[in-house]
Symmetry: C2
Subunit: 61 residues, 2 copies
């Protein structure tokens, strides 16, 4: 799996732009939240909290 | 559709991290390339070229 620090800033920006162009950001975040809430993935509380905040941000368009 | 400049740097980074955790980055980029090559989307040559470079980067893991 690629890690974020192997991607340049421009590459990271291009990924985010494409994610938004494909209108897939909210599905991606909700899928990650579901994986965590169903116990499929373990993350620290802070990461989970950030995901929830971002999900709410993306929902309010 | 959300725009990149309405997202903070941390929110953009969280989107990229989640994209990589979900191992969905390469599907996302190839989907965008397909939309462009099939004429579904018009983009400037530079954006298309960046997508192709990023696709090759993501393929070589």
């Amino acid at each position: 799996m690629e890690t974020i620090d192997r991607l340049s800033y421009d590459e990271q920006k291009l990924l985010v732009e494409t994610l938004l162009r494909q209108d897939y950001a909210i599905e991606l975040i909700s899928s990650e939240i579901n994986d965590i809430e169903s116990g499929l993935k373990q993350v620290d509380e802070g990461f989970y909290h950030q995901l929830k905040l971002l999900y709410d941000r993306l929902r309010i368009k």
